[in-house]
């Protein structure tokens, strides 16, 4: 089963990388993009008996290791029907 974990800086935390990317997009003429927040994306292939179990495991991994709760928050999505080994 595949879980996707999205880790982003909390809204209150300044994102120096996102700011630089915003500036670069403005240089390229994308004036309509007024803010970019940069984050991290993880794909976890998990042996789990149910989507609920996969979600629980991925959430635990996210809170223990993938995200730092001081500055980041995370969101977990479990892909339904995506079982079996990697292609």
């Amino acid at each position: 089963m595949r879980a996707r974990v999205f880790v982003t800086l909390k809204p209150s935390v300044f994102d120096p990388q996102g700011t630089i990317v915003t500036d670069a997009l403005h240089t390229l003429g994308y004036a309509a993009v007024h803010e970019v927040r940069q984050g991290k994306y993880f794909e976890l292939d998990i042996d789990a008996s149910s989507e609920k179990e996969a979600h629980r495991l991925a959430s635990e991994a996210a809170s223990k290791l993938l995200a730092n709760p001081v500055i980041e928050s995370y969101r977990v999505e479990v892909e339904s029907g995506a079982a079996g080994p990697n292609p």
Binding site: S12, V13, F14, I20, V70, I71
Partner: protein, 237 residues
């Protein structure tokens, strides 16, 4: 006096810390591999600078789970002096031994330069030979030294006098211009509530001999020898 220098895969200031404590200071120093589980009876522990585990995921995020860390935590809980330098500071933050977290430098540059660091308080095992408001010239070398904690945590750190070092101008003022990385309140280093665990981004071990530009950092290591020698900040058995 025996210093333990913890070596993580990717540490690169471990030999600087060893050289400063063993050869410059003339004290006993031992390397402790991160997969070891004992601090071999050391009186003080140094988590050195570098890029533990390649800084993958986040700085210090993986090192925090190294087998040696329970021993470091136990030593810290028992009141023993622990100094985290640069990446070592980041490990202490990730491990929760000190509050807060590091963000990328506001400049998005790896800042490598000598800075002026103001000592705020002398009642830690690593500043006992300093005086409050003393200015030290110590180098920094980091990409993620932009210290952050929620405002209420910062308030508590200030109220508890836990901010030990601040980036300062030559006048001693913690100005915006003197802040190399965007750290809140110009924080360059802090301690825990018991004051035995100190983390700092500047590298005192790289400023222990005039031949390398400054010997101000030696004061911090001499402080540890003094503190332990006087029976302050000794880990309870």
């Amino acid at each position: 006096m025996k210093f333990a220098v913890v070596v993580f895969p990717g540490s690169n200031c471990d030999h600087d810390a060893y050289h400063a404590t063993r050869h410059v200071l003339g004290e006993e120093a031992v390397f402790v591999w991160h997969k070891d589980t004992s601090l071999v009876g050391a009186d003080a522990v140094i988590l050195p600078g570098g890029f533990a585990h390649g800084d993958y995921l986040r700085t210090g995020a993986v090192a925090r789970f190294s087998p040696i860390m329970p021993a470091v935590r136990q030593f810290a809980d028992a009141g023993g002096p622990v100094l985290g330098i640069c990446n070592g500071f980041q490990v202490l933050l990730e491990a929760g031994l000190l509050p807060g977290a590091m963000l990328r430098n506001r400049s998005i540059r790896f800042q490598c330069e000598h800075v002026i660091v103001k000592v705020e308080h002398a009642d830690t095992p690593f500043t006992s030979k300093c005086y409050p408001a003393q200015l030290l010239r110590i180098p920094i070398a980091h990409g993620e030294g932009n210290y952050y904690a929620e405002p209420k945590i910062i308030e508590r750190l200030e109220a508890n006098r836990q901010v030990i070092f601040r980036y300062a101008a030559a006048s001693g003022s913690a100005t915006l211009g003197a802040n190399p990385n965007g750290s809140v309140h110009n924080i360059a280093g802090l301690c825990n509530e018991k004051r035995n665990v100190v983390g700092m981004m500047p590298h005192p071990e790289r400023a222990c001999e005039l031949a390398v530009g400054s010997a101000d950092g030696l004061l911090l290591l001499e402080s540890a020898v003094q503190s332990v020698g006087q029976g302050n900040f000794v880990a309870a058995q």
